[in-house]
Symmetry: C2
Subunit: 674 residues, 2 copies
Amino acid sequence: MALLETSRYSQGSALGSVNPDLASERQTASFCVERLTALLDGGAEQTRIRRAVVEAIESDPVFSRENQYFQTQNERYEAAVRKAVHLQKKMHEMGWTENGPEYKYIYRALSGDVAFLLHRVFMRSISVLGSDKQVAKWIPLATQHKLIGSYAQTELGHGTYLQGLETTAVFDTATQEFILNTPKISAMKWWPGDMGRSATHTVVFAQLYIHGKCYGIHPFILQIRSLQDHSLCPGITAGDIGPKMNFEHTDNGYLLLKSVRIPRENMLSKFCEVRPDGTYVRQGSQQINYFTMTTVRISLISDEVLTPFMKACTIAIRYSVVRRQSKLKPGEQEAKILDYQTQQEKLLPQLAAAYAFHFTNNYLQELFNRGYAEIHRKNFDMLPELHALSSGFKAVITQHCTAGVEICLRACGGHGYSLLSGLPSLYTKILASCIYEGENTILLLQTARFLIKCFMAASAGQPVPPSVTYLAAMKHGKCPAKNKLDFLSPDIYIEAYQHAAVRLTSNTAAKLQDLIQSGVKKHDAWNQCTVQLVQAAKAHCHYIAVKNFAETVEKLETKAGIQKIMKHLCDLFALHGIFSNTGAFLHDGYTSAAQMDMVTASYLDLLAVIRKDAVPLVDAFDFTDKCLNSALGSYDGQVYQRLYEWAQKSPTNQMSPAYERYLKPLLHNTLSKL
Amino acid sequence: MALLETSRYSQGSALGSVNPDLASERQTASFCVERLTALLDGGAEQTRIRRAVVEAIESDPVFSRENQYFQTQNERYEAAVRKAVHLQKKMHEMGWTENGPEYKYIYRALSGDVAFLLHRVFMRSISVLGSDKQVAKWIPLATQHKLIGSYAQTELGHGTYLQGLETTAVFDTATQEFILNTPKISAMKWWPGDMGRSATHTVVFAQLYIHGKCYGIHPFILQIRSLQDHSLCPGITAGDIGPKMNFEHTDNGYLLLKSVRIPRENMLSKFCEVRPDGTYVRQGSQQINYFTMTTVRISLISDEVLTPFMKACTIAIRYSVVRRQSKLKPGEQEAKILDYQTQQEKLLPQLAAAYAFHFTNNYLQELFNRGYAEIHRKNFDMLPELHALSSGFKAVITQHCTAGVEICLRACGGHGYSLLSGLPSLYTKILASCIYEGENTILLLQTARFLIKCFMAASAGQPVPPSVTYLAAMKHGKCPAKNKLDFLSPDIYIEAYQHAAVRLTSNTAAKLQDLIQSGVKKHDAWNQCTVQLVQAAKAHCHYIAVKNFAETVEKLETKAGIQKIMKHLCDLFALHGIFSNTGAFLHDGYTSAAQMDMVTASYLDLLAVIRKDAVPLVDAFDFTDKCLNSALGSYDGQVYQRLYEWAQKSPTNQMSPAYERYLKPLLHNTLSKL
């Protein structure tokens, strides 16, 4: 039953029949795949809407990703622009709106391969940072695409540390203009998407100077290209920064400004304004600004990280039941590689993590929604916790999923290394998420700063936000597990994670205090603790993820085998974390060596249990073949046929001038047959 | 002094002056860089020869790698063929021969970016597996490039497990020919380098059938393309397998065979022969065959793994003293990012590992040379140990260095993600080394099989090879360290590593025996232990690497600060391994929690010590700017200028048809100025 329902949406194969080695995996599913898909989507109605969007997008040849792996950066860019322009028409045609229920599925269906994503950021910046008058002027122009916007913050020499930006905006009272300059090469704007070739406008961040005094970083609307012939405006030098590991479709750009004048009205002035006489006025609260970063970090987890990670799991697991290699038992057929314990140990923890982080994402979304409601009531109390959790989880999830995609790629051997598998591009794309929107180490240190602060407060008996109340409850006990089955009890493993997180936080807080008390300056002491602070922040997030997974499982419907399989995955996620990081649990003797051997035994047992449902568990992610765009991962498992079919289309199978130029002269004078 | 000598060879910058932030790092070197370079090269004379080769190659425009990051797969292939053909001329011109001292430096100077590498494997196969008559016929033809050879072993459906290959060679007594077929799609040859577009001949591996009986896998010489017009020979279908993560310059190919007939003389017959009447004769020992695999695994460590890893360290460390980001101390200038403990913790252990594995490689080379000499005396006793060590270290070193390059890439933030940094292509290239020449997990399990066997033998009091005698010496003691300085004593940490390796091996051996005694079949029991067997094999290699590094340091000259800095790196390598894997050392209480805290303290202290010499330590690798081909890593540290200069040359800065086709119609009707 599950098989039939899913297969409707997994077409695109010209090959027809399902590989019997893959088909057999689906016949023994312990749960209803369709129900699990609905659970992941947030209800059967959502599944229906999503599939309708996917169907509409994938049946439109303009959005095709066929032959994508053969395209140059220039071809990818052109295709992305074509898709972006066509998407406007499509949305109108389908009656989809930016606020409609379909909207969030479009990006997934396009696999992000579309231009003008920064145009959206441009609009959001104006909405959030602009005055009512600015919003009234610019948003309609942007909505109607009378201009193409971008967002110019990062510079060649400056990223995370915004105060260090070097671009200047000097106010000239005489002309009522700002004069923009990138005074040094390191001040050049670098990386902004859509800016290299497409954008006509951008929001540029610069140090504001009035009468020689610096007022810090402010945002300005700036036109960079003519709306008539797209030529660069006077004083502007701009272009594309060239090839990257991925994002070939995006024209990440550079921008040099040489005394570019813009009117006073172009400084976004919801929170700060420069009056005609040069008076600087600050108004309203800027706290909402930090909330924007939080929004972006949470939203990227689902779109940019979990989706590619789930795709990688799907590809590698389907391939691992089709590929046979070597013999497990003498005299038998070669074994499916997923029957090897080492292959299970590579892939199944990734599968468990994909589910774990899906539920973490739900948790963050819910927290975010509550925070958003509070902020609308002018209550900013939840901001620090929200900032700490979104920063920490952005780092932990991007890092884990990037490593996971690499594991999936390598688990497919040579075929994983071919672009046609789809895995290399998933890897190179997800890797970027570790860097953009806050470098991971810096984010983890922000989480750690929150943890240390809360730990101190909790130790002093002060109230702390809900996610960190556990820091006050350090128990010096021992893990009570008596046999390996005890480690399948969430209470047991959640407490182990909690203990490790508290220990790492409290030990680092103590080291920090010791250093300061011994006379080390505060900033030096902090720097000397950062390696351990990062560990504490990771342990905190890992604990929350495990606890949240277990609590989610607790609330699931018990029907159709869903709760049972999710419980197995939760156990696997938790025990894999302990098995891979035994030192954190053994350190102070909370877990004994004998108990760690029980963890190992339970963990390895679980691999064999989950292996049976591995294919149905990835089928539940419900990716169509077109969306996966993988010769290894298609629903029918006809791996070898597809690799051969696709390879034949490669431009490397066209005649090369190398033969006439180099090979023919080299082989000259040889006989025709040896 | 060190500075001047090195800089002679680090040219190629049009920019001239050295970035003062980088220059200052060189002024305080605690050791003589030039002497360390000579140590790495194996003597000052070797350094001289290497530099002469590099100079000759880099001054020749045909070998230029400029603009490489902008080229398509087709352009890369053509360039690689051009270079391969030109190299013949160059070698002749320079008087370099395949047996001369210069030869080994050519590949490094070319960064491997050259065609016909499989031609060499083709020749080696014939030399090793061919009869005297076959060698006499084919080697001169190949040497003179009257043909281009390849090596066709891997199939679409078959890699590591050679017995599973499906290509067939049926002997036809009537015509004295073999009839070659790839009977199923999974039997198609897939991946062979130089075969997609260049090769005229190949050594193809197939199941030999005589009178209906299968005699297993044998090698055959096969012509695939005409020597006159390069068209495919009758019965042959061949082409290029398309895009990959890297190796764009290589035409990895596919090959389908349909009743292709080759003469009886084309089966390589040093060890096995088919007589005219179909009699199968086996002659000589095939053990030397295994030795070939060992040769390849050891040789790739240096060329394909350590060189790119050292390049990545060079790029990331130089960049980290040029890049300033955020403030360490309030009121001061932004800090060099290498001054942050977290950045040190990312990069300096990589630097230590680069040195550690360089010395491991020397150790393996020496062992190999001894083994080779023994084999010539018909003594094959060393083969199992050599096989175990080369397999294990191939896996451990490729895995560590791949992860290390990724760390270097991410440590450079956004700029590391640009192809212009050189880091993405180093990563995508080194990643392949985890897959080819034996998939790492399978190799580690071969090492583990050797370990278990030796452990059993040692436990029974039988003699075992030198590298595993320690397995007999399991002590149930405790680590004797009393304070953090004790962990800077090699005796202390070597014993800790030894203890962990013995424990993992002996525990897994015990589990294996328990399972078998409880009635589990041998192959099932083995499979159920494989996750732990892999851990044991890694621990064994890690122990050998640490021990060898410490012993190497012991023997170094004490002059010029060399021994001192190498000792620091050895300590860092050892302590980083413990710090990153605390569970392995805490498990049975060999190391206490208090001792682990001492390890952490000493480890973090060492980071600050080595940080001071970080730049001189990468300068000693002595890569020229052209060889690094990195906008971030050049000797002069003029990062931003170079990024800007290079980006301007990108084809993405040419006019795109996207404007006329899509942007202009979209922006139509808009005013010229908003």
